[in-house]
């Protein structure tokens, strides 16, 4: 089973074309996009604005269906919402009427088998939530409401919500884009540590090439719309990576290489 996945990938997108029904005719968002991500891999997707990165995320999680091609997860074709992926977006989207802890626990009220046990084992789950919050530096904030938190803190809580049910797959769509540089680097480390500790598979969409280079095992570059993957680059920086790695020449060289590639696809 594991070997088969080694060949086909944990996430396998194969020759996918997708068109939205726009207000003025169809918009082709993706055309012949293919992507493979191995189990436990940290993959980053970069590309020009509007090239279909968010669309790719929706395909993997089964929120939209391809017009052509196939999407598979763990070797099984995706033909509806996947029921297990954790997602986080640029906007933390916390529910303002719930405390931070209750926001984080929300997925457990939905995902089986937690859903069935949630009422009976509430104390256990709350402890789990508090534990997770403290690993992202939010200990003691569980009983606060989202509006009492800064943007960066809300984003940490949003990450916790995406991870509380221990998903095998974490989908992140520009999660740090709205944060200041310091907070962003802090959260890179938070994400790095969580990933190293838990070992889920990540697909991270980002505009920040340094973010991609610092965090990912593999960086996929997309073409302008209609999007497809035009280049995949393995990042061979050793792990565990410290922020200092960002100032090393080989890191800078990698970022420049990516930048050139994106400039190239934007021209085309």
């Amino acid at each position: 089973m594991d070997e088969a996945q080694g060949v086909t990938g944990f996430v396998a997108i194969d020759g996918v074309t997708l068109a939205y029904r726009g207000a003025s005719g169809p918009v082709t968002a993706l055309s012949g996009a293919s992507l493979k991500v191995a189990r436990g891999e940290f993959a980053a997707v970069v590309g020009p604005s509007g090239c279909g990165k968010s669309t790719l995320m929706k395909l993997v999680t089964g929120l939209v269906r391809p017009n052509q091609g196939s999407v598979a997860l763990e070797g099984r074709a995706v033909d509806g919402p996947v029921k297990m992926a954790g997602m986080a977006f640029q906007n933390p989207n916390l529910l303002p009427w719930r405390t931070v802890l209750d926001n984080v626990l929300l997925p457990l009220e939905i995902v089986e088998p937690h859903r069935r046990r949630f009422r009976a084992e509430k104390a256990k789950y709350r402890a789990m939530g508090e534990q997770l919050l403290s690993t992202v530096g939010l200990d003691g904030f569980g009983q606060r409401f989202p509006w009492e938190l800064s943007g960066g803190m809300q984003q940490r809580a949003s990450l916790c919500r995406a991870l509380i049910h221990e998903p095998a797959l974490l989908m992140l769509d520009e999660p740090f884009a709205a944060l200041d540089a310091f907070t962003r680097e802090e959260l890179w480390c938070v994400l790095r540590d969580l990933w190293q500790k838990i070992g889920f598979t990540v697909i991270l969409v980002t505009h920040d090439l340094r973010e991609a280079a610092f965090l990912a095992d593999t960086i996929h570059v997309m073409s302008a719309r209609p999007g497809r993957i035009v280049a995949s680059r393995t990042v061979d920086l050793p792990r565990p990576r410290e922020l200092a790695v960002c100032y090393e020449p080989r890191f800078t060289a990698l970022v420049h290489e990516l930048r050139d590639k994106i400039a190239e696809v934007r021209q085309a």
Partner: protein, 256 residues
């Protein structure tokens, strides 16, 4: 000092208005048959206190009954309309058409169906006040953040889960905001219907007093209407503020 002055300003303005009114009536020697002075109205209120109270209670009860129906029906219809785009599309023109009918025009029909009495007043109050409830509840559901929906759907949430966990709680501030509007409209509906065809209620009392040329009593009825209307609005404004604190706070923090 300034703060207390500001807090009490509604009181000063109300008192001032009555004083000017009283002075104008006395100085200009306005015929009490045209416009009674506040002192004469107060006299009429004292004199007719019992019937005024009785009719006020009838109006209060018909208003509240119509309003309660409107909230129950409005919430259910709002949830249905907000649930599905198809239903929304289909019902929208019907509701707009219905809402644009002046409800006064419906009162005679209701009277034919149900006879003179409290039922037409309750139904008029209901008909005139359910629309804002429907619209607000449906808006609350329709303006749900699509990304949040994606987060939940990727977890395998069914439509019902999304409704219960997100949709319905987030319509709460919309609902409470609509209650303030709806209670005022229900009051208008009840009084209009009572004025046209009823045998009790403030509207009926005023119509009767008017045809008997008892102007101070007409104005006494008007005063009771004002007091009742303000009281009902104040109750729901308070409920709104109490129940939806998070909505105000979070919009404040979103701005900052």
């Amino acid at each position: 000092m300034n703060a207390t002055l500001e807090r009490l300003s509604p009181l000063w303005f109300t008192l001032g208005m009555f004083l000017v009114w009283e002075a104008a009536c006395r100085l200009l020697k306005i015929d009490p048959f045209i416009l009674p002075a506040p002192s004469q109205i107060a006299g009429a209120i004292a004199q007719y206190w019992r019937p005024l109270m009785r009719h006020s209670f009838v109006t209060l009860w018909t208003t509240v009954a119509g309003f309660a129906l409107a909230v129950a029906f409005g919430v259910i219809l709002g949830l249905i309309v907000g649930w599905s785009r198809t239903i929304y599309r289909g019902l929208y023109p019907v509701m707009i058409g219905f809402n644009s009918i002046p409800k006064v025009a419906v009162v005679p029909i209701l009277v034919i169906w149900f006879g003179i009495g409290e039922v037409p007043a309750i139904l008029t109050a209901f008909l005139i006040s359910f629309f804002p409830v429907v619209v607000n509840v449906a808006t609350g559901l329709a303006t749900m953040e699509p990304e949040l929906e994606d987060v939940l759907r990727a977890l395998g949430a069914r439509k019902m889960d999304i409704m219960l966990k997100v949709g319905i709680p987030r319509t709460q501030p919309y609902l409470f905001a609509s209650l303030k509007v709806a209670i005022t409209l229900a009051f208008v509906g009840a009084v209009v219907s009572e004025t046209i065809a009823a045998n009790a209620g403030l509207g009926f009392l005023m119509a009767q007093a008017g045809s008997n040329f008892q102007m101070p009593l007409v104005f006494a009825g008007l005063m009771m209407l004002a007091v009742e209307g303000i009281a009902m609005y104040a109750v729901f404004a308070l409920v709104d503020k109490r129940m939806t604190r998070w909505a105000f706070r979070s919009s404040l923090s979103a701005a900052g």
